[in-house]
């Protein structure tokens, strides 16, 4: 198949490598170095999609990042990705793409009835129509919109591609490799600065690739290639193509997305698909260039209407003619450059220049080539539905209000140039307050906010000579500050043609009796009339107009539409553009793959996993794990066909009757040393700590300054000035920071050191009536009798040659011990316990049984210490010292905390002794009361009591102290349950606490 619109020679593509690809099911050919857009245009394909609202046919408008139309769904190597700009996607062998936003097909689109039947969706459509009736949303509006609109389909499959994050530091980061970027990079690199030069396109050089200029006796393109080649050899320089800096954040942190593999049929082994760079730069040079802006006229969205700079780029970079009968419509000299390129390739363009007369070297060249130029002429409307067939043109009066007689001329494309808009997004993101530059009708960066400088076209400077001069100088100056080196750079000679002043004209008036749609925002289908409606309806702020009309809110973020929108508002409002102001630019500058943002943090890498040293034993013994923060803990050990309920009941029962062992390695452990350690504990915990003897443990509760319980746990005095604190698994990190806060900032005079030892110790809780017998066998040389090691006692022991710490503490409410050994001996300890415990019918138990045991004992845990309860609420007021001061004590005097009917922990039993009460259920007096039914309390934790063989729950209940014996209802609207319950003591089992002391 021939590529009918490819010129014989020229362009930067590799004609030796032909590539086949599919678009909407049809096979085409292109060359290596093409984009999907250039390859389609080479094949004469202009129709690529449908517009968002009216489903009008859409073609290509640009040739790069500014493209508002040509968004496709891409298929590559068995994966699919939506929202790909055809103008940015490089061609590879076997590429497949489909149009989006058209149903059932791009050529016959049902949504386009919107256009023909004039059921136009005017400004505020979403605001007005979809507000009412609400019930229509899910049934009618949303399914309709989803089917008829949208910019592609996200894959629901697991993404096989890899994405990486990289952190980098440099002296000078340069965004854009046009003349300014190259000059800045070169000068800074010569001074030894660490430079990163980023270019979003595959080819370096920016405008030098397409402009007819001469630098140092070379063509602009050759000069750029020479500079890049030299930069690549320098060890202090990183040059990156296919890399878009899309965000400028605080303290000169910029983020760049590098497309590593998108241009290849499949990602190479060990390569990522994309790499996200977090770059902390000392200085930033924004050389992001400018984007040509359209002139608004009737049907200006017809396929075949495009930016004149894009037409030139397709020709000079890709060797593609976007038409054979081009009409160039311009208000400045740039249109002439495009016309000259057409002419040089044997195509006769017609140029319409809105200016009455303009003279410059460029225009002279066009005239000398015999190009047909019509001054004071404009395109009134494009004609043709799926492709431009002709144009209605007319002369225009000097005040640009009156059109002459409408003539129709044949053409197959209309190349528009409405002058240039500097790309100020990055500068604006950095916090730079932009200013309006009258001469170019556009905003440019103002005073630098961070360490950034914007040069060249991005700064509204369109003279190459000046751009090179300022950029070389800036590169030298910025690097000199950092490297203290000052290499002289000879600024090369520049030959460029001088241009004439552009015409401040951007919108063609409607001819009498015609109602053409004149689009401002091509992707979101916002027309001149929509903005007029918004202003008529009273919207004034440009931010409001944007949201009401959706102008500039599409995925192209209004790169081509912003300024014309502002011009329109300023014209109607009779204000100058700077008074209207522009909307805020926010990152990302272009869409960024979610995959790139997530990076490697997927699946099991989405968060770190902490495992105890005994983890592999648990795995081998059928443990079913549960996430406890970032820890993995055995929830239960499955035997046969047991479910969670059966297994945890068996395990808990075995603790109550024999002995069980539980991995408690995850508990937070903090080593506290120093002569003032006891003083610190005394201030941190609510109870007294000054007199705890060596070899004893004590349970303690700590508060936040607002009186709320922060954490609980036991702390043991190992030796005179050495304590071992345990915290809950969840609060371990917070408690350490809390202690450090007071030691470093509040009481720096205390001579104490704290350090986390959570990972240094492996812990096993041995609980049950037979636990002492087991201990005796584990530590035959130690006296672990009730006298030798009483409740809350501590000793060191020898576990078959391994040094162990033995604590007589209990969470289960049974006679129990906790044995700690250094982590590396954890599995040895565990295996010994299981081996020796065999004769006592030992079974391991998981967190579910652990919960059961503590709930029926009324021991509080995270579900009660939920950041809303004070000691009284948890029946812990006995631990609150009246004598000494401690963190949070003063808050306990607050009237709410001393109220007579203060909430308090209670036990809850269903009257039928059968129905388990869902956690989170509300306790109410009357289950039939009208909503909202006054809530008296909530169920904090539920279990199946193995002691009484019926359900049992803990609750935090208003006036709980006086509610024992009352009958209430537990209601769970989530589970659709209403359960009559009786309130009992929270100490359901062994209320006197005899077992732990036995």
């Amino acid at each position: 198949m021939t590529q009918a619109f490819r010129i014989e020679n020229g362009g930067l593509i590799n004609r030796d490598k032909k590539l086949s690809f599919k678009f909407n099911g049809k096979t085409y050919f292109g060359y290596e170095g093409d984009t999907l857009a250039s390859a389609l245009l080479a094949n004469g394909v202009h129709l690529v999609g449908r517009s968002f609202k009216y489903h009008r046919p859409r073609g290509f408008f640009g040739a790069g990042v500014d493209e508002p139309y040509a968004v496709v769904q891409l298929y590559r190597n068995g994966e699919t990705e939506p929202n790909i700009k055809a103008t940015e996607q490089e061609l590879f062998e076997g590429l497949e793409a489909k149009s989006v936003n058209c149903w059932p097909s791009v050529n016959f689109d049902i949504g386009a009835i919107n256009n023909f039947l004039k059921i136009f969706l005017p400004a505020g459509f979403y605001y007005k129509t979809f507000m009412w009736p609400k019930s229509f949303w899910f049934r009618i509006y949303e399914p309709f919109i989803r089917k008829a609109a949208g910019l592609g389909v996200a894959s629901t499959k697991h993404d096989k591609e890899r994405y990486e994050h990289k952190y980098e530091y440099c002296d000078l980061l340069i965004a854009g490799s046009g003349p300014s970027g190259l000059a800045g990079a070169y000068a800074a690199a010569k001074n030894g600065a660490k430079v990163i030069l980023a270019e979003d396109k595959p080819r370096f050089g920016g405008s030098l690739l397409t402009s007819d200029v001469n630098i140092g006796n070379q063509s602009g393109k050759d000069w750029a290639e020479g500079i890049i080649a030299e930069l690549k050899t320098m060890p202090n320089v990183v040059v990156k193509n296919r890399s878009q800096i899309f965000g400028y954040y605080d303290h000169n942190m910029l983020v760049m997305s590098e497309k590593v593999s998108d241009h290849l049929p499949s990602t190479k082994k060990y390569h990522p698909n994309k790499r996200l760079w977090y770059i902390r730069a000392k200085e930033v040079l924004i050389s992001s260039g400018s984007i040509e802006r359209p002139i608004v006229f009737g049907n200006n969205d017809t396929p075949g209407v495009m930016l004149s700079s894009a037409a030139k780029e397709y020709l000079k970079v890709y060797g593609v003619l976007v038409g054979r009968k081009p009409l160039v419509f311009t208000n400045n000299d740039s249109g002439y450059e495009t016309a000259i390129e057409f002419k040089k390739n044997g195509v006769d363009p017609v140029v319409l220049d809105s200016r009455k007369n303009a003279e410059s070297e460029i225009i002279d060249e066009a005239k000398n080539l015999g190009i047909n130029i019509k001054n004071s002429y404009v395109v009134v409307a494009a004609q043709g539905y799926k492709k431009v067939k002709s144009a209605d043109i007319a002369s225009i009066s000097e005040d640009k209000k009156q059109l002459g007689k409408i003539e129709n001329i044949q053409c197959d494309c209309i190349c528009v140039s409405g002058f240039w808009t500097p790309t100020i997004h990055l500068a604006s993101q950095s916090g730079n307050k932009t200013k309006f530059k009258e001469e170019i009708d556009a905003f440019v960066p103002g005073q630098s906010k961070q360490n950034e400088i914007t040069l060249g076209a991005a700064n509204g400077v369109f003279s190459l000579e000046e751009t090179l001069k300022t950029s070389f100088t800036a590169g030298s100056e910025l690097s000199k500050k950092l490297t203290k080196k000052d290499n002289e750079i000879a600024i090369p000679n520049v030959v460029e043609k001088k241009s004439s002043q552009h015409d401040k004209f951007w919108c063609v008036p409607l001819p009498k009796g015609k109602n053409y749609k004149r689009f401002l925002d091509f992707q979101n289908d916002v027309a001149v009339s929509d903005v007029e409606i918004a202003l008529r309806e009273g919207y004034r702020s440009i931010e409001h107009v944007k949201r009401y009309t959706t102008l500039g809110m599409a995925t192209d973020q209004g790169k081509t539409s912003n300024l014309n929108g502002l011009q329109l508002v300023s014209e109607i409002e009779n204000k100058v553009v700077p008074a209207v102001g522009h909307t805020t630019f926010r990152p990302p500058y272009t869409p960024v793959s979610i995959g790139a943002i997530v990076g490697r943090e997927v699946g099991k890498h989405s968060k770190p996993t902490r495992k105890s040293p005994m983890h592999s034993w648990h795995e081998k013994n059928n443990a079913v794990f549960v996430d406890a923060g970032v820890w993995l803990r055995p929830r239960y050990y499955k035997r046969g066909n047991e479910n969670l309920f059966e297994a945890s009941k068996r395990e808990a029962k075995n603790v109550r009757t024999n002995v069980g062992v539980c991995d408690v390695t995850t508990l937070g452990k903090i080593d506290i040393k120093g002569p003032d350690a006891a003083v610190l504990l005394n201030r941190v915990y609510t109870n007294a700590w000054l007199k705890l003897p060596v070899g004893k443990a004590r349970y303690g509760v700590m508060l936040r300054e607002d009186g709320i319980v922060m954490d609980d746990g036991t702390t043991t005095r190992i030796s005179e000035n050495h304590y071992h604190m345990t915290t809950t698994t969840a609060q371990a990190a917070n408690v350490l920071s809390h202690l450090e806060y007071y030691l470093q900032l509040v009481w720096p005079e205390l001579n104490v050191n704290v350090v986390s030892t959570t990972e240094q110790w492996a812990g096993a809780a041995i609980a049950g009536p037979k636990s002492r017998h087991l201990l005796q066998k584990l530590f035959p040389n130690s006296d672990v009798s009730n006298e030798g090691l009483p409740f809350m006692g501590y000793m060191e022991g020898d576990l078959f040659g391994v040094k162990a710490r033995i604590f007589r503490i209990s969470f289960s409410g049974e006679l129990a011990y906790e044995v700690n050994v250094e982590s590396d001996y954890g599995s040895f300890m565990w295996e010994k316990i299981m081996e020796v415990g065999g004769e006592f019918n030992i079974q391991p138990y998981g967190t579910e049984a652990l919960s059961t045991l503590r709930i029926e004992m009324g021991h509080v845990a995270g579900s009660e210490l939920d950041g809303r309860t004070i000691p009284f609420d948890n029946a812990l007021e006995g631990l609150v010292s009246k004598k000494k001061d401690f963190i949070g004590k003063r808050s306990l005097q607050r009237s709410a905390f001393t109220a007579e009917d203060r909430q308090r922990i209670v036990g809850v039993v269903p009257l039928d002794k059968q129905t388990s009460i869902p956690e989170g259920s509300h306790l109410v007096k009357d289950d039939k009361a009208p909503l909202p039914n006054p809530k008296l309390g909530h169920i904090s934790a539920s279990c199946w009591s193995v002691e009484y063989d019926n359900p049992f729950s803990l609750a935090i209940l208003k006036d709980g102290k006086n509610m024992i014996g009352q009958k209430l209802f537990a209601m769970s609207p989530l589970k659709n349950k209403v359960i009559p319950v009786e309130i009992v003591s929270s100490h359901y089992v062994d209320p006197k606490g005899e077992r732990v002391r036995s």
Binding site: D706, S737, D885
Partner: protein, 89 residues
């Protein structure tokens, strides 16, 4: 992302730190009578300044030291950083 100069470790990214609030708040002394108003001011009442603010950060993924950072809450500019025991002039 902020770039914070830890007085112990040097320039580090914000994600190594955790925020600790207003550094000018002084905890009332232990065992001292404190009025409700005084205590409320200590526990709850913060100025939430726009502009220069002296605040606490802890270098949790570094030296674990609490430090003082003088930062503009509107612009994020960081003027100076101090060790916990350094007097802020």
């Amino acid at each position: 992302m902020l770039y914070i100069n830890c007085p112990h470790c040097g320039m580090r990214s914000q994600n190594e730190f955790s925020y600790g609030g207003d550094a000018s708040v002084k905890r009332p002394e232990l065992n001292k009578e404190v009025s409700d108003q005084e205590w409320d001011n200590f526990v709850y009442n913060r100025k939430s300044l726009r502009g220069k603010h002296l605040e606490l950060w802890q270098h949790i993924s570094g030296c674990r030291q609490w430090i003082k950072v003088e930062r503009d809450t509107a612009t994020h500019e960081i003027f100076r950083t101090f060790k916990a025991d350094e007097e802020v002039a």
